[in-house]
């Protein structure tokens, strides 16, 4: 019996691309944070995102998906991510970054729980082990 070679899943390429872009984000944030405070950076991030959004709109020739549910989840995702960043900065005023950053870095745990309950996603044992290692590394790298 012929066996097909296992293909590298398309979603994984995009996920790794995301790691690269967000890694660059962390790098430039680090450079900017030398003289800008986190709130100023958050404003600049938002302005920096505008050309990307505009570019996407041009690519789509102005045909933005207006599905009410999709649009609402999109806006809420951006709003809560921004709000989460503001909460993070507020927490930094009360506690050291070495405590706050590792704790907030655990946000994927909430995603995993919500995906289990709401989206009914099920992971295999290897992936569950991966989540444990990933969370440990997130905490360590953010100290």
């Amino acid at each position: 019996m012929q066996t097909e070679p296992r293909r590298f899943p398309v979603w994984l390429w995009y996920a790794l691309l995301c790691v690269f872009w967000w890694g660059l984000w962390g790098f430039f944030s680090k450079i900017g944070s030398v003289s800008a405070n986190p709130l100023q950076l958050q404003i600049l991030f938002t302005f920096g995102m505008l050309p990307v959004a505009f570019g996407m709109l041009l690519q789509m020739r102005g045909r933005l998906d207006r599905n009410p549910g999709g649009a609402a989840f999109g806006i809420l995702s951006g709003f809560f991510t921004g709000l989460g960043a503001l909460g993070y900065f507020a927490a930094l005023r009360q506690q050291d970054a070495s405590v706050v950053t590792p704790v907030t870095g655990l946000f994927p745990l909430l995603t995993v729980v919500l995906a289990f309950i709401v989206l009914r996603e099920r992971l295999n044992k290897v992936q569950m082990g991966g989540i444990v290692l990933a969370l440990a590394s997130i905490v360590i790298l953010s100290i």
Binding site: G32, P51, A71, T81, I140
Partner: protein, 131 residues
């Protein structure tokens, strides 16, 4: 994110998410001002925003292409690994022993999260004998 990409395209999600961020700008501008910032800091912040937007597009595209949220989100949360590497190469920072441990755990965790058993491929990827 996953609930959004289940309904609209990744590119549309980028636009709606950006709108969600923009809504917060007036509140943030009440708390601080950009006056007095150096051109270098402003440039770094704007570039950071741009690559953040591209990262948003990539995670939405990943979810759109069938990634589980419970896998893709923890996997992409490993981005500090990339930042540590860039800071090591370009800013000549040297990772501590603890950070090396974090890097090793991130690589192992990332590989394990990416693991999909061969027995559960998508329908069109199944060999003919399985039909």
């Amino acid at each position: 994110m996953k609930l959004g990409t289940n309904r609209i395209s990744a590119r549309s999600m980028v636009i709606w998410v950006t709108i969600g961020f923009v809504v917060l700008v007036p509140f943030m501008c009440r708390m601080t001002t950009l006056a007095g910032l150096s051109a270098g800091a402003i440039s770094a912040g704007l570039i950071a925003g741009m690559v953040n937007g591209l990262g948003n597009w990539a995670i939405f595209a990943s979810l759109e292409k069938g990634a589980k949220a419970s896998v893709a989100i923890p996997l992409t949360a490993l981005y500090p690994l990339c930042t540590v590497i860039l800071a090591t190469v370009f800013l000549r920072e040297r990772p501590s022993s603890l950070q090396w441990l974090g890097i090793a755990l991130a690589l192992a965790g990332g590989a394990m999260l990416s693991y999909e058993p061969p027995a559960a491929p998508a329908l069109e990827e199944r060999p003919q004998c399985a039909q």
